[in-house]
């Protein structure tokens, strides 16, 4: 029995943040029903990476919406809305990411819904919260990375701001949404009462930076300075970074620079006896290391450094990683069959329960694929 068996989640949310939370809940055992507009379904079905589509929806949609059902409803149609309300009375959780005001217009805002189901956990994602000048601004991942200061942390000193090339704000926000939902479900078990859970992309992306923002708040507001080259963390001193070798790259994490110098046989590092200088003279130290490490292949360096317990690693791309025994042994892959006969090759969720991996064969649904069955099952 999965941890969340018996929990019913209605997902009105679209795109990535809300649906990524729904996916985690589904993998943990909840039943997640997407409420989608008829025919076109949720807008995320059309957002594609590399123009890849399967069975008329983007591969991205299939990735984040597997293990869910789909119920088609036009929320502007009174009959459809009535059915959805009946479904809500039987649900434990509903999620949405409409902009502030939209659910009020439809008539499914928290004040309405709590009256028809006082035990419901009602969870929302916004871009910037529900008040203030940005409340109606589009909450999109790259925009949030840009506005939150996050784009200034990655890359080298003279680079432009470097956003992370994945939907980091969406995904972080989705994890927080799941936290709020799950904590509220626990409270519901104890008190019988539902809750309103609210997260926003901006707050979540600020929380994601809590270590460095706390440092900024207490160091006289110094802005982050990225290292000149091979930067891996604006706030950490040498050797923390990535270095070119004779045949690739090596990354080296924190540790004593003096010990590193000895293990490598790089005598130039021995003058940096004061550990403060590992941060203040980071660029010149990293220059020395870079010049030294480029002479030999990565594997030779790893062998030397790992033998002495230095924290270091090869730098892999997908092809190397995904064919490596260290990846295969995780059994992260799963393949899902679509109604069209096509197959989706994707990953399972990252949480193991009682030493078991949580696989699910259920693919993302077609728009409205389960409408008829759900009407019968829930007596709508």
């Amino acid at each position: 029995m999965r941890l969340l068996e018996g929990i019913l989640v209605l997902e009105f949310a679209q795109f990535m943040a809300g649906p990524s939370a729904g996916l985690k809940l589904a993998d943990l055992g909840a039943r997640v029903i997407k409420i989608e507009r008829p025919n076109t379904g949720e807008a995320g079905r059309q957002i594609a990476l590399k123009n890849l589509f399967l069975d008329d929806s983007s591969l991205v949609f299939h990735t984040v919406n597997r293990n869910k059902d789909s119920y088609a409803a036009n929320l502007k149609d009174p009959e459809d809305l009535e059915r959805v309300k009946k479904l809500i009375t039987q649900a434990d959780v509903m999620t949405h990411n409409f902009r502030p005001g939209v659910m009020e217009k439809i008539g499914l805002d928290y004040d309405v819904v709590r009256n028809i189901n006082p035990k419901l956990v009602y969870a929302t994602v916004t871009g910037y919260g529900t008040t203030g000048p940005w409340a109606k601004k589009p909450g999109q991942d790259l925009l949030i990375q840009s506005m939150s200061g996050f784009a200034n942390l990655t890359g080298n000193k003279n680079d432009d701001p470097v956003p992370v090339g994945a939907a980091v704000s969406d995904i972080i926000t989705g994890t927080h949404l799941a936290h709020g939902i799950l904590a509220s479900l626990l409270k519901k078990e104890k008190t019988g009462k539902g809750s309103l859970v609210e997260v926003s992309l901006l707050e979540s992306t600020l929380d994601f930076q809590f270590e460095v923002i706390t440092t900024y708040l207490n160091d006289g507001n110094q802005n982050p300075q990225r290292a000149k080259q091979g930067s891996a963390h604006a706030y950490l001193g040498a050797p923390y970074g990535v270095y070119k070798t004779a045949d690739g790259y090596i990354s080296i994490a924190m540790g004593s620079l003096l010990k590193l110098g000895e293990v490598l046989g790089c005598s130039e590092l021995s003058i940096y006896k004061d550990s403060d200088s590992w941060f203040t003279k980071r660029d010149e130290i990293m220059d020395i290391l870079r010049a030294f490490l480029c002479d030999r292949p990565t594997d030779e360096w790893l062998e030397i450094l790992e033998a002495d317990g230095i924290w270091c690693s090869n730098v892999y791309d997908y092809k190397t990683l995904l064919n490596h025994e260290g990846f295969k042994v995780l059994q992260m892959d799963q393949k899902l069959s679509l109604l069209s006969g096509e197959e989706v090759h994707t990953l399972r969720g990252p949480i193991r329960v009682n030493d078991e991996r949580l696989f699910s064969k259920k693919p993302a649904p077609r728009v409205g694929q389960h409408t008829e069955d759900i009407i019968k099952e829930f007596n709508l």
Partner: protein, 380 residues
């Protein structure tokens, strides 16, 4: 009432991954007792960033461990072990992030613990799981980023691997652990059963890349190619990226190239009528766009694009962001106070429940600050 009030967590973990999880649980209302070794405590106390020392210890430790109590114990000393086991007997949750094998030697493995507390929720984080060639490798953020393929998603082609300048793997692993622990607490509330929840850092950062890895599985395993300039995503077409203006930077998310061309008065862009070309010809499109945007200010471009509902934003640093009304209304910064009266500022929990922020004025504990009180209350 906070949702996790009356939940007791014994936290044997250190650094960031699992401690970030117990911080979230603490903010949700749980009582977290951090068990720390004598003299040094959590190694993170001495893990400085930017050489910033806050009341004698690192700002990072102060950020991660606020709202927790510290209980000093040597897990190799029998008296201390018996004390900690007494705490574990009464706990709802136990958390650790020792490497595979170590916890068994200490006698705090799940099989042992569940005999003294059968309904406990037991959460652990490892680097790479407990099987395979990497199981004994240090689970450190940069090293896991490097192996996971993540460093090839950020920055521009030709720039070498570009790690995310934040402990993204630690934070995501912690977030996944919280999800598993909370789901297990929900199940326990219903059935009375305890569980073991495990996450590892590698699976967590692979899960984070589920979109691009699934894409890799479906695009014939093509190498990940980042844009030559103005990069924000290796798998998305133009205009998605960051562009320099005469006085700063502008981020542009997905949008129609010909529409942008017309709005911005950049005629050459109006010729890219075929949507697929925005990806296949993204380098030349971005070059044209970058040359055009470099001719005027960020504000000028925003004043044209925002009214037209184009997804765009100015790139901000924290100085700028924190001065904006849209940030101020979020009340994201809170002041916390340590046992000795020292006060510092940090961010609050990003989740809002029933219209209330989850704040706490409790700062991080001094090593062993609560040992006596806890012995009196829960042990003797």
């Amino acid at each position: 009432m906070k949702p996790l009030e009356d939940i007791l967590i014994i936290d044997l973990s250190q650094f960031l991954s699992a401690p970030s999880a117990t911080l979230r649980l603490a903010d949700l209302g749980a009582r977290v007792i951090k068990v720390e070794r004598p003299e040094t405590g959590d190694i993170c106390r001495q893990l400085y960033v930017s050489n910033v020392i806050l009341n004698g210890e690192s700002s990072v430790f102060r950020a991660i461990n606020r709202n927790k109590e510290s209980f000093q114990a040597d897990l190799k000393n029998n008296t201390d072990v018996q004390r900690v086991l007494k705490l574990v007997e009464q706990a709802d949750v136990l958390v650790h992030n020792f490497r595979p094998g170590v916890i068994e030697r200490l006698g705090f493995d799940y099989e042992t613990i569940k005999k003294i507390n059968p309904t406990i929720v037991y959460g652990d984080i490892s680097g790479y799981g407990n099987e395979g060639p990497w199981k004994s490798k240090p689970g450190q953020d940069l090293l896991v980023q490097s192996l996971s393929g993540l460093t090839w998603l950020n920055g521009i082609e030709g720039n070498g691997p570009t790690p995310v300048g934040l402990a993204i793997v630690d934070i995501l692993s912690g977030a996944h652990l919280v999800q598993g622990i909370l789901a297990a607490l929900v199940q326990r509330a219903k059935t009375g059963k305890g569980s073991k929840v495990s996450v590892n850092m590698l699976e967590s950062i692979l899960d984070f890349q589920f979109e691009s890895i699934t894409t890799f599985y479906h695009d014939g395993g093509e190498p990940t190619v980042r844009p030559k300039s103005n990069s924000a995503h290796a798998y998305l077409g133009a205009p998605y990226g960051v562009y320099q203006t005469t006085n700063g930077y502008l981020a542009l998310a997905m949008g129609s190239i010909p529409v942008l061309g017309e709005l911005l008065g950049c005629e050459p862009l109006t010729h890219y009528k075929e949507i697929a070309s925005w990806f296949t010809k993204r380098d030349e499109i971005k070059k044209t766009l970058a040359d055009h945007l470099a001719t005027d200010t960020t504000e000028k471009w925003l004043s044209i694009l925002e009214p037209a509902d184009i997804w765009c934003a100015s790139i901000m640093n924290w100085d700028t962001l924190f001065s904006k009304e849209g940030f101020k209304v979020l009340n994201m910064v809170q002041k916390v106070k340590m046992g000795d009266g020292f006060e510092y500022e940090t961010t609050r929990c990003p989740i809002k429940i029933d219209g209330e922020y989850l704040t706490s004025s409790v700062g991080s504990p001094a090593l062993g600050e609560h040992t006596e009180a806890i012995i009196n209350e829960l042990i003797s």
